[in-house]
Subunit: 509 residues, 2 copies
């Protein structure tokens, strides 16, 4: 009876095997590959990507989906198999709507624009990058046109966002971000001026050797183990699961700023725990993979910020940093560490932002890329619009495009609709954290004792084990009984600000 | 005019891209992969191998070959393009003769038998391995049957040998090996008993840290550089080229036996130099790859033995070992090192053998596997036949199958016809070395000064740049004006033995 379904799963398994090879090729390129291997690597990746794409979008996959749907006509629509076929049907149809020429134009333009962006950023020269961004936007609009008319997409941005945050309507996101923006701006306005928090511990010397030991200890507490994980050095840290039992995280090191390695590793280990916790029974199926980038980011940010920057975990960190770093840091205590790693300081660069300003960096990008894609803003007007938004939200004057509109790789790589998932991750993390604190008695004491297993298992049960069986919205409704909300994250932030900066006397966070 | 040829090259390029991904998957598995990733890795490798096989053997490839042959009808039959199409035609036809079921039976049986072999070797229990070897032999005979009847194959072993040493007739190999065996046995008989050479330097303590520095220095002299090479640790050392500009070598370390790392690394770097020297213009074509394992092994053995164990290079090595190792080795001089690393000592294990006995280890395997495949020897009789041959050639009594017939992985992995290429490599290395000494004035002085570039460039010009454009036999005829011969290697060995053990007084090597 189920033989079309079985054949479909076999094909999806082959696609997973190709994905495994591609994940390895990318990991190796960023951690191990000698530089002169780059050309051959890009050819191999292009061929594997093409083979994989053709195997997926082919008519034969469609016939297998049709057959599987017939076989599952009477099955529970929420069963693993039914959900799998629904997911694959939707992805297959979206992929089929894109002509192969457009797909390869998109890939080629992204690769060329990234090169141009690297040079433009080095020279802080937006004008030289502008034509490439024009091309990327034009192609993105052609991509959108392939899908408009589908009832599920109400506007152009819906189509783009859907690639990273499936089935999240732009209208819903815009409402959430408007609320979040107002609250973050108000928190920021209520903070005292610079210098209220002494940040000396962040910049005290900490030799890489000692940092490596600290990071190893911390990720081991989180669940890293040598039988199925690796930790390597890279320039732009990331996490990836090559396959079941093979999760790889990366970090980078600065002797004069240890939070980069420590919190970077906790962030990537959070991503890795999600990947490691995905349902092994669905290992080679799309439902056994993550569903949305927002949910993925919620895991990394929960571990990095809610756990890693908590007062309780500073009790674990401070004595180890003192012992391993020595020097000035030998005198570090938990309270000084807690205050330093939670200091709020508006800056130009998203990836260096604190928890309050981070959301504002994301929201301004979300607003600008919507305007660009809808033609309400031209590429020529972009730098000025960027700088105005930074002035409005962060109170800073951008002097230099390299620290402004040119700072991120995303738009050069054709990743339009990607940024919002970073801030969505914070919102979801806020909701999960609030519930975990309710449901795990003594969580703070556990964390202060370095026992992170109960939280990890709770997240596995509530989030990881579902894979992509449900959309992120559905999963939150099922597990938390609520849609994505701003409240819990904002409450969490306000409480933290009060504990770092003192209760808001005459001010209100 | 050339559009079938262009299409054929495009397809061969895609196959090279898949080969790139497979090479990376194998390298990673043996150097980086966490152990629990093994299952997913084997699935990915199986899928990539199948896709690659199907892409190659398909009828479309045949049509492209037909078309390319028509387009090249009037071209020089020795042009790059003509040679390419001849090579691909031959490989395509050989691959087409094997039914897909047999190919997958072979792969599956090899994988199962390797598992069984690991356990059998641990317990030194040949009987438990025998049924798996029976199966591998039965499948190998079925593989042979697919090809017998082709005029190019005169006997069963021809078919198997051809997979590793293309177009080398068994009869020619048997003549060479009979000569080599007689000469090696006679050299061995003429040597004084144990203890004539003091081997203390080999077993003196040398910390891994210092060995790593030594190995880095030595492979850098050979041509290793960080822009296109890597050196990593592994259990069973190997070399691989992932792609152009990306050569990876591996080694392993023993603080009480530094030759393992040093000569292992020189051996693998020799393989790597061959891969690095292949013609870049043919990078994604089969003619831009190595042709035979014998030629490949000639490169590794030339660097390991002719260079690495030469009196001249011991002048380079001894002071560096003395400085980096300290302790007992602080007093090491070139002469003591030279004598120790060239001591001849018959033993049970092939991979630990000296230059004299190594060939005998290989020849006994070649003789036995021929008898097995032709049914002149049964699997049950194999251990006894093995032990008798070890007695005859090496004068040793095998007490334990783990140190005898069970020592190598090859037969369990279905690699029948592979062993001879190791000894062929020595013969070819002997011929190349003799010619290099003739043509490079002052080669010994260059080596003693650590200047290895002239030899490397000579090998690139004579061997590497040809890739697989010619068979190994053709290449030697073109470049050296001679077929594969025993003489130069035997002369080289006799001269070395005389210098280590003194001139044969009343004896003759």
């Amino acid at each position: 009876m189920d033989d079309r379904l079985t054949a479909l799963k076999r094909r999806l398994g082959e696609l997973a095997d190709l994905g495994h090879a591609l994940a390895l090729a990318n990991w190796d390129q960023q951690t191990m590959m000698p530089p002169r291997g780059a050309q051959a690597r890009s050819e191999s990746i292009a061929t594997l990507t093409r083979i994989s794409h053709e195997l997926f979008v082919g008519a034969e996959t469609g016939r297998l989906i049709d057959g599987a749907e017939r076989e599952l006509r009477d099955a529970d629509p929420d069963s693993d198999d039914s959900r799998l076929v629904q997911l694959v049907r939707r992805r297959w149809e979206k992929a089929r709507r894109v002509p192969p020429e457009l797909a390869s134009d998109l890939a080629r333009a992204a690769s060329i624009a990234q090169e141009a962006w690297v040079g433009a950023r080095e020279r802080s020269d937006f004008a030289s990058f502008a034509p490439y961004l024009e091309t990327n936007l034009k192609l993105a609009r052609r991509y959108v046109e392939c899908h408009l008319g589908q009832p599920e997409f109400e506007c152009a941005y819906d189509v783009l966002l859907d690639d990273y945050e499936p089935r999240m309507p732009t209208a819903q996101l815009a409402r959430l971000f408007a609320q979040l923006r107002d609250q973050l701006v108000s928190m920021l306005g209520a903070l005292p001026r610079d210098g209220a928090v002494d940040e000396w511990p962040l910049h005290a010397r900490f030799a890489v050797e000692g940092q490596r030991r600290l990071v190893r200890e911390v990720v081991s507490m989180m669940g890293f183990d040598d039988s199925s994980w690796r930790l390597d050095d890279t320039v732009h840290p990331f996490a990836t699961r090559i396959g079941v039992g093979d999760v790889r995280i990366t970090t980078r090191w600065d002797e004069d700023y240890f939070p980069m390695a420590l919190y970077g590793a906790m962030h990537e280990c959070g991503h890795g725990l999600y990947e490691a916790g995905l349902p092994a029974a669905l290992a080679r199926l799309p439902t056994g993979a993550p569903e949305s980038l927002g949910m993925h980011e919620s895991q990394s940010r929960l571990w990095e910020n809610m756990v890693g920057r908590s007062r309780a975990f500073c009790e674990v960190l401070a004595p180890r940093i003192a012992a391993l770093a020595g020097g000035r840091l030998a005198s570090l205590d938990a309270e000084a560490l807690y205050r330093a790693v939670n200091a709020v300081r508006p800056g130009f660069i998203r990836v260096e932002a604190d928890e309050v300003t981070y959301g504002l960096h994301v929201i301004l990008r979300f607003e600008l890329e919507q305007e660009l894609i809808e033609g309400r803003l031209t590429v020529a007007e972009l730098p000025e619009a960027w700088n105005a938004r930074v002035r409005e939200y962060l109170g800073l004057e951008v002097a230099d495009d390299a620290d402004g509109v040119l700072q991120d790789v995303h738009w050069s790589a054709g990743l339009i609709g990607y940024f919002p998932t970073y801030a969505l991750g914070n919102l979801i993390a806020g909701q999960l954290w609030e519930r975990a604190c309710d449901e795990l008695p003594g969580l703070e004491d556990l964390i202060a004792a370095g026992d992170l297993a109960p939280l990890r298992e709770w997240l596995r049960e509530r989030v990881h084990r579902h894979g992509a069986k449900f959309t992120t919205g559905e999963l939150l409704e099922r597990e938390l009984g609520a849609p994505i909300q701003v409240g819990p994250f904002a409450d969490y932030l306000r409480a933290k600000l009060a504990s770092v900066y003192g209760p808001p006397a005459g001010r209100s966070f």
